[in-house]
């Protein structure tokens, strides 16, 4: 399994990561090697085997629908790099 440069760029775009040319080269090689290794899973017959998404027995954690205490706005905004009028501020969304 060998990834193309174009696939690496596509994944980086999906993951919102700017990569340098050196990084693209490195990840292309390393991810290909790791995926080669992971290909060993294909040899197992898993027909009829259910997937495990949680190791715990199914259990319900519902609670009464009552409002609880949440973080104050000032606390929530405290770590933001940029804020305005009690809101997070971001660069323009539309290009």
């Amino acid at each position: 399994m060998s990834l193309t440069r174009k696939e690496v760029e596509h994944i980086a775009d999906l993951a919102r990561l700017d990569l340098s040319e050196t990084e693209k080269q490195k990840y292309q090689e390393q991810l290909s090697a790791i995926l080669d290794y992971a290909a060993s899973l294909q040899k197992l017959d898993t027909s009829g085997i259910p997937p495990t998404s949680s190791v715990l027995p199914p259990h319900s954690t519902l609670r009464e629908d009552v409002a609880g205490v949440s973080l104050p706005v000032a606390e929530t905004l405290k770590n933001a790099k940029s804020k305005k009028d009690d809101q997070f501020q971001v660069p323009p969304v539309l290009e």
Binding site: A38, P50, V55, L71, K81, V90, P91, V93, E95
Partner: protein, 489 residues
């Protein structure tokens, strides 16, 4: 006198404070003094809070004087350290990453809050592989931690700072997290006892998420007895974590018995592989022989899907990580790179502020989850995970615990695996299956190699049976002194 305080067992520290032999301030100052002396060599910590620690110690001392002796908090005045992956209000939380530089969490993790309620004194936050991704603590954006047994070697990871801080006697116990071996492998590399509990035993609220179906919070200490005492308050249901389980928590009060008659110990043949360090194999086999001499019945077992655990883990964990780490958008917290649009800002910030292993795993996980590849990679991995879990379910039909090595080698040299991610991943080959099955594991020292580096063994148990692991290791530690050795620094 004060210098001897740090070498006491945790029960003796607590008894000494309770009886007024010494105060929490004296104990905390003794550890801080040791920390000052060794920290420049080891770099176990990312942030230190000696002033608030001493203030907490004074509060503890006041309570010892005025409180009702029958209802004092169980760990009152005990200094500990916390991995920088768990939030503590008022202390920074970087997760070893530049993308959280300067972040001050607005709330405290449930596990840590319960320890604070139990009376602990927090002296600082410990170094780690960025977002817990790594096996050597070399992936920290703030520089690596050294192994106190040999400063040119890694302490293991990702909880390497927590392990080193206990191994160099800066604190008597430290909290870590274990997603694929991150408590047990550093415990093994540093000669410590480390508990990775059952998934769902300890709340994950306030534990910064890496692989949500695998993440657990654990303890590193010098002995099973010390680890059990610190572990006890953290365990139990938490309404803030829907995956925490309402299973009764025992007292973990360990009996001082060394008779193991009636205990069935399984030894899985798949955990003794070609290429592993021979001294590791012989030390682990000798420890199993010791358990036998103490009365345990040794049964050879098979966990036939073990070889698939590594590829399964390195698809599932990165897939979950790629989703979890999408939250680092430089909007709500963390530094930000300039961009003319929000999308450009995302790409630039994440591209420059995440380290190379984190980006590698995000890429891998994104690929495994992407259209066209989901069934072949993530879907297939989840099915094989079922087979791995069934191996354990079947084994526990005929044995009470499983004994096996923690890692194929002792601590390796810094820089040895940094250019070869696959070689680094192979260090986790014996620890990953446990997280995939969600069962508990306890690592503890069973010998040293010719370079005087600790060798660890792990005991694995059925879901929610941590108690039997603590009890068995405690029995072993009463007859051996590997856990009492001290590195020369």
């Amino acid at each position: 006198m004060t210098n001897d305080l740090i070498s006491l067992s945790i029960p003796n520290m607590l008894a000494g404070m309770r009886s007024g032999q010494f105060s929490s301030r004296e104990l905390t100052e003794a550890f801080l003094k040791r920390l000052d002396a060794v920290e420049p060599k080891v770099h176990a910590f990312l942030s230190l809070t000696p002033e608030s620690a001493l203030a907490q110690a004074d509060v503890a001392d006041k309570l010892y004087k005025t409180g009702d002796p029958a209802s004092l908090p169980p760990l009152l005045g005990l200094p500990i350290a916390v991995k920088d992956l768990l939030t503590v209000k008022g202390m920074p939380c970087t997760c070893g990453s530049k993308i959280l530089e300067g972040f001050m969490p607005p709330f405290t993790a449930t596990s840590i809050q319960r320890l604070l309620d139990a009376g602990v004194v927090i002296v600082g936050k410990t170094n780690m592989d960025e977002f817990a991704m790594g096996s050597s603590t070399e992936n920290s954006a703030y520089g690596p931690t050294s192994n106190p047994w040999d400063l040119t070697r890694v302490p293991g990871g990702s909880s390497g700072g927590s392990a080193a801080a206990v191994a160099d006697w800066s604190v008597p116990a430290a909290i870590g997290s274990d997603t694929g071996g991150s408590v047990r492998q550093p415990a093994s590399f540093c000669g410590l006892t480390g508990i990775k509990p059952t998934y769902g035993r300890v709340s994950r609220y306030g534990l910064v998420a890496y692989g949500s179906s695998l993440d657990t919070v654990g303890v590193l200490a010098h002995s099973a007895e010390d680890a059990a005492l610190v572990f006890r308050p953290m365990a139990g249901l938490d309404p803030m974590d829907a995956t925490s389980m309402d299973v009764p928590v025992p007292t973990y009060k360990l009996e001082n018995k060394t008779d193991l008659h009636g205990l069935r110990v399984g030894v899985p043949k798949e955990y003794f592989i070609e290429g592993m360090q021979t001294e590791v194999e012989s030390a682990v086999r000798a420890a199993i022989q010791t358990l036998k001499e103490m009365g345990a019945q040794i049964i050879e077992i098979s966990l036939p899907h073990t070889e698939f655990a590594l590829p399964v883990y390195y698809l599932i964990a990165p897939a979950e990580a790629s989703a979890n780490l999408a939250r680092y958008d430089s909007i709500r917290f963390g530094p930000r790179e300039a961009g003319s649009t929000m999308w450009e800002m995302f790409r630039k910030s994440r591209g420059s502020l995440f380290g190379s292993e984190v980006k590698r795993r995000i890429m891998l996980g994104t690929y495994a989850l992407s259209a066209g590849y989901y069934d072949a990679y993530y879907g297939q991995a989840q099915k094989v995970r079922t087979l791995i879990k069934r191996d354990f379910d079947e084994a526990y039909q005929s044995v009470d615990v499983i004994a096996c090595p923690v890692a194929p080698t002792t601590a390796f040299k810094q820089g040895q695996h940094t250019d070869d991610p696959l070689a680094m991943y192979l260090e986790d080959v014996f620890t990953l299956p446990i997280n995939l099955a969600g069962v508990p594991g306890l690592a503890f020292p069973v010998g040293f190699d010719q370079n005087n580096l600790p060798i660890g063994m792990q005991l694995l148990g059925p879901h929610f049976k941590e108690e039997i692991l603590f009890q068995t290791a405690h029995a072993y530690q009463q007859g051996t002194d590997w856990h009492k050795r001290v590195p020369v620094l």
